[in-house]
């Protein structure tokens, strides 16, 4: 059965303090791994798709990386506006649906 586990559940950072969020996955065959950002009271906002181990993608202060077992979302010099819940999801060969993790709640204090 496909599974996605995100850690930590919550993370508090000072503005400018870089860190990483982890997404561990178990799938029969990975078609794609997605990162979404979700603000309170809003739907998930698409950030990145990664397809194969070794792939990296960047957007402003965010960089996503992928290995055969996990993905990291690196946040460099975060700002308070980066505060949100970050969701990881996988799409596997065995299913047409996305399997989401429970997310990491990030709070960046000024």
């Amino acid at each position: 059965e496909d599974q996605v586990t995100q850690s930590p559940e919550a993370l508090r950072l000072q503005e400018g303090e870089s860190s990483s969020l982890n997404c561990s996955y178990t799938v029969s065959g990975l078609r794609g791994l997605f990162w979404y950002r979700q603000d309170p009271g809003k739907g998930p906002e698409f950030l990145f798709t990664l397809y194969s181990a070794g792939e990296e993608k960047e957007k402003e202060r965010l960089k996503a990386t992928l290995t055969k077992k996990e993905s990291f979302l690196h946040i460099t010099a975060p700002k308070p506006e980066d505060s949100a819940t970050y969701l990881c999801a996988v799409h596997s060969d065995s299913s047409y649906k996305l399997i989401f993790g429970s997310g990491t709640r990030l709070l960046v204090r000024p």
């Binding site: 996605v4 078609r31 794609g32 997605f34 979404y36 009271g41 809003k42 739907g43 998930p44 906002e45 698409f46 798709t49 397809y51 969701l87 999801a89 799409h91 299913s95 047409y96 649906k97 996305l98 989401f100 993790g101 429970s102 997310g103």
Partner: protein, 118 residues
């Protein structure tokens, strides 16, 4: 480009009452998804449509939930009768190709409907 539209944004009902949610996907997107997101959890797929047809409804509680997508565009999700455990955010998403995609397909989400069942 307009995003996924949902209404209402909030709904409060008593248990055993009925409720319906509406979704208008991004123009041209063949696939539409309904998710349930309970507080503190990631979204869970309830049903997936490819144009008019249902691709996956394995996690839809069919004794009380129903969904339709007429003419392959708008969709409605209904709960009848509602239970306390149905309190959640109901998200609609759409993607361009869905199961027809050669690799995988990005899903774009609407703002959701927050349902509270008292």
């Amino acid at each position: 480009e307009a995003g996924v539209a949902q209404s209402p944004r909030y709904k409060i009902i008593e248990k055993r009452q009925s409720v319906a949610f509406w979704c208008n996907p991004i123009s041209g997107h063949a696939t539409l998804y309904w998710y349930q997101q309970i507080l503190g959890q990631g979204p869970k797929l309830l049903i997936q449509f490819q144009n008019n047809g249902v691709v996956d409804d394995s996690q839809l509680p069919k004794d009380r939930f129903s969904a339709e997508r007429l003419k392959g565009v708008d969709s409605t999700l209904k709960i009848q009768p509602a239970k306390l455990e149905d309190s959640a955010v109901y998200l609609c998403a759409s993607s361009l190709e869905g199961r027809l995609a050669a690799t995988t397909d990005t899903q774009y989400f609407g703002p959701g409907t927050r349902l509270t069942v008292l």
